[in-house]
Symmetry: C2
Subunit: 473 residues, 2 copies
């Protein structure tokens, strides 16, 4: 071990290596403090050469590498879990946070993997552009982690997940070689697209050290609304009508059930309901467009009026100013905070096609009422993506009295996952598998796909050196 | 051999198997008649089960599988070239041309791999949607081939290549198992995305049998223009200004040099130049939007006026009616036909970032003038994608007098490819590698990438059964 540490130290210097147990603590525990791993050292390379050297040294010592980004993941993909006796190195990317190049004409920015998402937003804005990935942890989440987990968020409906926004990757492969694909060409048909293999691989195939990201023109026209629809099926139909009328301008289309909105109203200050009573099903809409002259408010009013006429909805408001728009989105964005106060929520990251959302919710409701009558069901859905965060909210008292909370949580999760699979869906829409869902992936995943994944892992990382324990278990 | 044919015949029936040399001829030669291969049988499965059975039988006989779509490829990826003594089966997909499912609410159509692109366009239009991949051969090209070659075309600037339009794939893998990923979820983070590995793999990892395709809303507002810019750098700047003003509405942005436009005017009937003299550099523009009320003509006029003012251009027209718009695009779309009459054109499918296009063209011009003074240089570029079809056009007489035309063609190609690489570009933007560019890929490709490609090929297809000779050589 001492040789390993010495060799790392020689490459990384004092600032680049932590081997003290106390100092390592924040690097081996997930940010919510739910899972703690162990490592022999935390390497903080300052550049790609150092990162490649760390991997090469690890290889010589048969050490495992555990990549760490901003540590904001929800599935413990970044918690180091080495096999007994195998040396473990956490490789944190926080010192690699530089801008490498801005190419405004090509709409491409090239950055180190350790740059935060918020910093990318700033850089894009400085050039009159936007980088349209948005999620709660953007001040902390790093580009490398967002790539490795193929992060989603609220912009997927229009812009796609991280996968669709990355146009180049640099990564250290398990053999210590560096894959450099930062040319960021819009068209390049010269063989297998390895970029797409690394995206969403949760660090199991290589250590992402840099990326080229595609920038977009910023939006300059907006409209915001909240419509009380008669149910999930009406919401699907409304989305279709909205897309027919406004095409790409549909920026957000979020559906919440009454229990979810009431939960927020109950716990979060400065929340205002623009209706007399809470709608059974709410849809919150944002339209946005680059054209400064687009009259999106008129378009939204037109579609809403037609939806009311057609009986898809019974009430609707269009924000008349910025403050009213903020009131709508304040409620939507306060969901997670409200949940913490309300009780113990077992949150799922299921997705089906948006056309299958009504059936999925109905089946899940039936199951929940039967198997978990103690729970209230909250629904918050990125409906445009078919992504349903289906939540069983248990009272604190009930949960505290359980003999084994974890077993109960797993019971709930398996029941909801079974229903997602029945509707052609997925057990992880945007959070990934990490170390949380490996057994569920083995239980429910397509055996053909899992077999090919193992073949690829074996081919690229035959010694199981990169993030062992994550994704493939 | 007779056992192999008998077993295939038992599965496929009379309509599904061709073993007669004469009848096989069109299946073993590329559509331009430039390259002919050989096979022992042509299998035409009627469904996925039959396709899987063909692969399983081939495996038992150590036969090679050569997938065949519409046979419109330009790089011979579908010409069967078995190793001496190894049985060879061409698997044509023409009998698998059915619609499997239309899901309008999810904007997804699921089809057999043998369906033509034109048929997909019809199906989409029937639902008030579009499938925005467009290329010359769309009446013949099949979805499976378009996936396997990650086809490009004229819509890439806005909609991306085939890769960005496919949301699910079904494929028979070399071991005979069937990978089924047709759920077409917008969000699904459950491991390596094998779909992206099969896209652009040119049939070397599996036989694509079905696909789920993402539909878009159709455009309902349009504007068309032709602007005489002062050079490629001005064209890049104009594109940036246009995107600043119109964002996603930039549907096409095509740049041609004077020699290219003159070539078309000389040879193609009913071509009308809307300027007094042919511009040194032409940019042809289409704006399009789903919003029926978008005033794109005004936006285009505004950007063009500013470009003239700024000295980026010296003349410009905006089409005032459909006929004028057609006149512009008639010239653009007649390029290939005009080339055939003009002489022997050595066409390249290079791409660099659009910001690097001016430097690439200048360097290529310098090289061409020095090394190939007999050739006239024609340039037609999907500038928005950085894709430059750089063409050295040799007079028929000169070419006929050469002792070895193929050697000269290779000399030209290598010289242009070297320059593309110097500008961080690619030797194949949209046509693929096939059997035409394998040696160039080995010569110029990133060794790290090539090594990983071979690892993956070895892992998934250890016996080199799927389309041997293509892509990896």
């Amino acid at each position: 071990m001492s040789t390993l540490i010495e060799r790392l130290s020689a490459v990384l210097g004092e600032r680049g290596l932590i081997a003290d147990r106390g100092e390592m603590a924040p690097f081996v525990t997930d940010f919510r403090g739910r899972m703690t791993g162990a490592a022999d050292a935390v390497a903080l390379p300052a550049n790609t050469d150092e990162a490649a050297a760390v991997v090469a040294i690890a290889r010589e010592h048969n050490a495992a590498i555990f990549p760490l980004g901003g540590n904001t993941g929800l599935c413990y993909a970044a918690v180091p879990t080495p096999a007994p006796g195998r040396p473990a190195i956490v490789v944190g990317m926080s010192r690699m946070a530089n801008l490498r190049a801005m190419d405004r004409a090509a709409n491409v920015v090239t950055v180190d993997a350790g740059m935060t998402l918020a910093r990318v937003h700033e850089l894009a804005a400085g050039e009159g552009r936007q980088f349209p990935l948005h999620l709660g942890s953007e001040g902390t989440a790093q580009i490398g982690g967002l790539i490795s987990t193929n992060a989603g968020g609220t912009g997927v409906l229009r812009y796609g997940p991280m996968r669709d926004l990355v146009c180049g990757i640099e990564a250290v492969l398990p053999d210590g070689s560096v894959y450099r694909d930062l040319d960021a060409l819009r068209k390049n048909n010269t063989g297998y697209d390895l970029k797409h293999l690394l995206i969403g691989a949760e660090g199991t195939l290589g250590l992402v050290t840099g990326a080229a990201l595609r920038l977009r023109q910023p939006n300059r026209s907006f409209a915001h609304g909240w419509i009380s629809v008669t149910g999930p099926q009406a919401a699907v139909e409304l989305l279709s009508r909205l897309q027919d009328r406004c095409g790409d301008a549909v920026e957000a289309f979020e559906m919440l059930n009454r229990a979810e909105v009431d939960c927020v109203l109950r716990h979060i200050p400065r929340t205002r309901l623009p209706f007399e009573t809470t709608p059974e099903w709410s849809v919150m809409i944002e339209l946005a467009h680059t054209d400064p002259d687009a009259d999106l408010v008129a378009a939204l009013e037109e579609v809403m009026a037609a939806a009311l006429e057609a009986g898809l909805a019974d009430d609707a408001i269009v924000a008349q100013n910025e403050a009213q728009a903020q009131d709508i989105w304040h409620i939507r964005h306060s969901v997670t905070e409200a949940h913490k106060i309300e009780g113990v929520g077992i949150v799922h990251d299921t997705a089906v096609r948006n056309s299958a959302v009504p059936g999925f919710i109905a089946a899940a409701d039936e199951m929940s009422a039967k198997l978990f009558p103690q729970a209230r069901v909250l629904v918050v859905s990125h409906l445009g993506d078919g992504n349903v965060h289906y939540i069983l909210m248990f009272p604190h008292d009930y949960w505290r009295a359980l003999p084994d909370g974890e077993a109960k949580a797993l019971e709930v999760e398996m029941a909801v996952h079974d229903i997602a699979m029945r509707f052609g869906g997925t057990i992880s829409a945007e959070h990934g598998i990490g170390r949380k869902l490996t057994s569920e992936l083995q239980r429910l995943g397509d055996p053909v796909k899992l077999a090919v994944m193992r073949q690829i892992k074996q081919a690229i990382d035959p010694d199981g050196m990169m993030n062992p324990g994550a994704l493939l278990g």
